[in-house]
């Protein structure tokens, strides 16, 4: 119980008036002769008692009337028990608005985000003048309490959906912590959400409950702006057969379509941008849906095949033909690169020694069908005469003694941006290789050949050369990559050398050296070792089984040739990275965003990549630079989880969260009333004035009854 204008309660002192009138200011009686006084006297005692009772009763009623009137004018309020902690302290209100893409769901011509912001604005509007407020949305970044509510209101008014929304739960917990830090104020958190599972997953309630436990003074109100009847067709994540294609290779696009609520089978369309960037429809498909799940969601698959993409970067979109309430998940964007095969030079003592690796990199069976690598085999002795500039990678396999010029040429090639791999074997001689020229390339001085049987077992697959294997690391039978002999280097290694992969016994297996703009890997055991070499024991049996040999070769050579599959698909908010070829010099470029704007940007000098962080909007991005004929692209999509529109059961939330700290209300009006009640208490003026009227009536009734004219 409190008062909005407590000073007016002093008006209750006016009860003194009737008391003074009663006790002090007694009227002088009229003096009258009355012979029949004896009859009056007979009833004196009983009448006096009754009259006294009536007088006191009336006096009490009149005093009560004045007191009640004063109290009513002081506007009494009733505060719910939840807000009694720190009663009277000013409010610090944290407004959390779910502005994830899911909230763009349109109902009755109005998005849920609009409903949420309107409700939030009405809550802020009702906050008392001494309140502080902050608005927390799902963009990353910390919030703090603003001094005035107006800035919070303007933030709410300008609230826009954010593509890379963080978890709502995290935002709620931030808000609770922030409100809990307000020691001098009563912390209140208002959360405006549609209560979908996407917004509040199953574990959210526990996490929120923990946060509330840590901040026992904070009140949490969850304002439901969603509805149960949702209808949405959503296009799931787009799966590409590969984002890097060779000439003539097919692109296969698959995706899952889920339909919540009733609806006709949706029609999906594939559009691919032509040379001018214009989207052209290439295909369409009517999706056949499976049976509905218990939640009424039907699922169907689509598959598009594109098979005549020319060289270059291609972008497109798969979209649902019909519009629905939630627009963002009706379109998925993709980008693919079509590149020619990478040219790789294999140098071995005899061409036969390179056969196994060549077959692994470009199988002769599929020659001419768009393989990844275009391999050329030369004798190691011919290396000095061979032009290396055209090659993207050069692999020197178990080199016999090479002239110093050959090593110089290799070193120069690597320095200028080439990819050089040297895999030592039985032909190597430490004396020769410890000379100055080979030592430019090798990571250290050769010590000896170790004959400790072991197997290839990289401890970590984080080096870019092996990172591609990480996706199926569990499935690689490393024990099959047995090694019986390998070269050991004298310690310490060259200052710029480091180990890329080790054997199971911890000895280095593959090492890398810095080589100018190029890449340089050195293996200590051959990569193309025959299983039954003539006249000697084999050094390893990598080639015994195609798996994982082919994969390892593919990744190592791909790394050297800079032909690794680059990421072309990003989620909104990610930083996109575009690797540049060693010879590509880009000082400035134009980023064309999905809305058609061209942003001129400058690249950081010396970096081999372009980093682009302006990826807020989903769509296809294009990076061009006239000077270096750079023309690349990437796609940004929203995380598929934002399409989760199935509602949480509100009762579950109410049950999981502490009753004295949590309230669930529906709609803005209820929320606004809540803030008023919890901030100032529920106003009791109508009741108080009703009571005044009642007491007044009672006083009149009694007075009339007591002094009725007979």
């Amino acid at each position: 119980m409190g008062f909005l204008t407590p000073a007016l309660t002093l008006g209750a002192l006016a009860v003194a008036v009737p008391i003074v009138l009663h006790l002090v200011m007694r009227r002088q009686p009229r003096i009258l002769d009355f012979p029949a006084l004896r009859f009056v006297l007979q009833r004196r005692e009983s009448n006096r008692r009754r009259m006294q009772l009536r007088h006191w009763l009336l006096l009490a009623l009149r005093c009560a009337l004045i007191a009640l009137l004063a109290l009513a004018l002081a506007r009494p309020t009733w505060r719910p028990p939840q807000s009694r902690g720190k009663a009277g302290a000013p409010v610090a209100a944290a407004v959390v608005i779910d502005n994830s893409p899911r909230m763009e769901y349109v109902e009755a011509g109005r998005s849920r985000l609009d409903a949420a912001t309107e409700a939030a604005a009405s809550v802020l509007d009702r906050l008392p003048d001494d309140a502080q407020a902050t608005v927390i949305d799902l963009t990353a970044g910390s919030a703090r309490f603003a001094l005035d509510v107006d800035s919070a209101v303007s933030r709410v008014e300008n609230m826009a959906p954010v593509a890379d929304a963080r978890e709502l739960t995290a935002a709620i917990i931030d808000a609770i912590e922030l409100a809990g830090e307000q020691t001098e104020r009563r912390g209140q958190v208002f959360v405006f959400s549609d209560l979908t599972r996407g917004a509040l997953p199953a574990e959210a309630a526990d996490r929120i409950a923990k946060a509330l436990e840590a901040a026992p003074d904070v009140q949490l109100a969850l304002v439901d702006v969603g509805s149960t009847a949702t209808k949405n067709v959503s296009l799931g994540e787009l799966q590409l057969s590969s984002s890097l294609l060779r000439t003539g290779e097919q692109l296969r696009l698959t995706a899952t379509v889920s339909v919540a609520g009733d609806g006709d089978p949706p029609l999906a369309e594939l559009l691919v941008a032509d040379d001018s960037g214009e989207l052209v429809k290439r295909d369409q498909q009517l999706i056949s849906l499976g049976p509905a799940s218990s939640e009424g969601v039907q699922v169907g698959d689509i598959e598009f095949v594109v098979d005549d993409l020319p060289l270059g970067t291609h972008q497109g979109v798969v979209q649902l033909a019909a519009a629905d309430a939630l627009a963002f998940d009706n379109r998925r964007y993709f980008t693919v690169d079509v590149r020619p095969a990478a040219r790789v030079l294999l140098a071995a003592e005899t061409p036969a020694d390179a056969t196994l690796l060549r077959e692994a990199l470009s199988p002769s069976l599929f020659a001419g069908e768009g393989g990844r690598f275009d391999c050329e085999v030369v004798r190691a002795a011919d290396l000095p005469k061979t032009a290396l500039d055209e090659q993207q990678a050069v692999l020197v396999l178990d080199p016999p003694s090479l002239p110093a010029e050959a090593w110089d040429a290799l070193w120069k090639y690597a320095q200028q941006g080439g990819g050089l791999g040297v895999f030592l074997g039985h032909n190597a001689e430490s004396r020769e290789l410890n000379e100055a020229a080979p030592q430019q390339v090798l990571p250290g001085r050769l010590k000896r050949i170790s004959r400790n049987a072991t197997y290839l077992r990289p401890r970590r697959l984080d080096h870019p050369a092996l990172a591609g294997l990480a996706n199926y690391a569990e499935a690689i039978p490393w024990q099959l990559c047995r090694v019986w002999q390998y070269w050991q280097f004298e310690q310490p290694l060259a200052g710029d050398a480091h180990v890329v992969a080790t054997f199971a016994n911890g000895q280095p297996a593959i090492l890398q050296r810095a080589a100018g703009r190029g890449r340089l890997l050195v293996g200590v055991t051959p990569l193309s070792e025959s299983l039954n070499p003539r006249g000697r024991d084999p050094w390893n049996d990598f080639t015994a089984a195609p798996w994982p040999y082919v994969a390892i070769c593919d990744h190592l050579v791909g790394y050297l040739a800079r032909d690794a599959e680059t990421q072309l698909e990003y989620l909104a908010g990610d930083t996109a990275t575009i690797p540049l070829a060693p010879d590509e010099r880009v000082t400035s470029y134009v980023l064309r965003t999905p809305d058609g704007q061209g942003l001129r940007r400058t690249s950081v000098a010396g970096e081999g990549t372009l980093s682009i962080s302006v990826t807020d909007a989903p769509g296809n991005y294009r990076v061009t630079s006239g000077g270096s004929r750079l023309n690349r692209g990437f796609s940004v999509n929203l995380a598929p989880g934002y399409s989760e529109l199935v509602r949480r059961d509100p009762e579950e939330l109410v049950a999981a969260l502490p009753k004295e700290q949590f309230q669930l209300v529906v709609g803005g009006d209820a929320a606004a009333e809540l803030v008023e009640v919890s901030a100032t208490g529920r106003e009791l003026f109508p009741w108080a004035i009703g009571l005044v009227a009642f007491v007044w009536g009672a006083e009149h009734f009694l007075a009339n009854r007591f002094y009725r004219k007979e």
Partner: protein, 298 residues
């Protein structure tokens, strides 16, 4: 209402200052009213003719006798049986009270007594007057001649209520004075202890007398019309009491009713006529009571 009948109203009678005229008007009004009533001719009987003398009512001239004899004769009326009446006037100070009324209780009683006196003399009934305070103050022996009217009225006109009262004692004294059975008409407000008064009245009744008690109260004493805080003072005893009149009215009216009911009941049991009156009432009520009593007596 005829012009004469209006004289039964106290507010009209007040405008006439002479008591004899007052009495005359009251009785005339009363008798006029009787013509239309079943009482017409019931109380007055023709007895003889006598010669008309100046001062006689020309109305009483018997025109039949005049036709026969060429002389004016006046019809002489006579009751079959004469009854001696005593008018017993209470002189207590409380009788001299009026609250916003035309007549005080005493004036009302005087008018009423005068009228009755007039009526009785008209009937040839001997009528006497007794006044009392704490004891009998004055008395006038009953006579039935016309001069008696003058005697009684002049005495009545001179009376001033002034004393404390002891009705019981006075009535006892009166009972001792009465030799023949008489009609005793008591005019009092009876503002004293009721039991001794009732005992004295019963004693009178037992002495073979008819008793009519005209209990005259002021209209204010029957209606208690006061409002707000008042201090009431008893003029006889000087007692004072401050009361909230509004809150007291119901109690007071109940008490008055009890008092009157008590008298009514007790008097009926003893064969006494008890006539509760207040100063706002017409006089005919009291006169009628006399006539009714006279007939039963007859």
């Amino acid at each position: 209402m005829t012009t004469v009948e209006k004289y039964l109203k106290p507010e009209v009678i007040r405008q006439i200052s002479r008591l004899d005229l007052r009495a005359q008007f009251i009785v005339k009004g009363f008798l006029q009213g009787l013509h239309a009533s079943p009482f017409h001719g019931f109380s007055v009987e023709f007895s003889e003719h006598r010669k008309y003398t100046a001062g006689d009512d020309p109305k009483d001239i018997d025109w039949l006798a005049y036709a026969k004899t060429d002389r004016y004769y006046v019809k002489k009326f006579e009751a079959e049986t004469n009854i001696t009446g005593y008018l017993a006037m209470d002189l207590s100070a409380s009788m001299d009270y009026s609250y916003e009324q035309e007549l005080s209780k005493f004036e009302y009683a005087t008018c009423l007594a005068a009228a009755l006196c007039y009526l009785m003399v008209l009937q040839k009934d001997p009528v006497g007057l007794v006044t009392f305070g704490e004891r009998i103050v004055d008395s006038l022996a009953p006579r039935s001649n016309r001069r008696q009217i003058g005697n009684i009225l002049s005495l009545l006109a001179k009376l001033k209520p002034r004393d404390k009262t002891d009705i019981a004692n006075s009535l006892t004294q009166l009972a001792a004075m009465l030799k023949h059975s008489s009609l005793v008409m008591v005019f009092s407000d009876l503002l004293t202890d009721p039991e001794p008064v009732l005992a004295a009245l019963r004693r009178l009744r037992h002495g073979g007398h008819d008793v009519i008690v005209f209990h005259i109260l002021d209209a204010a004493e029957t209606a208690f019309p006061f409002e707000g805080l008042v201090e009431l003072r008893d003029p006889e005893t000087g007692d004072k009491l401050e009361v909230d009149a509004d809150g007291y009215r119901a109690d007071y009216l109940q008490e008055i009713k009890n008092f009157r009911d008590h008298f009514t009941r007790e008097c009926r049991q003893s064969g006494i006529d008890y006539v509760p009156l207040d100063t706002s009432m017409q006089f005919d009520r009291a006169l009628m009571e006399y006539l009714v009593n006279r007939r039963t007596h007859g």
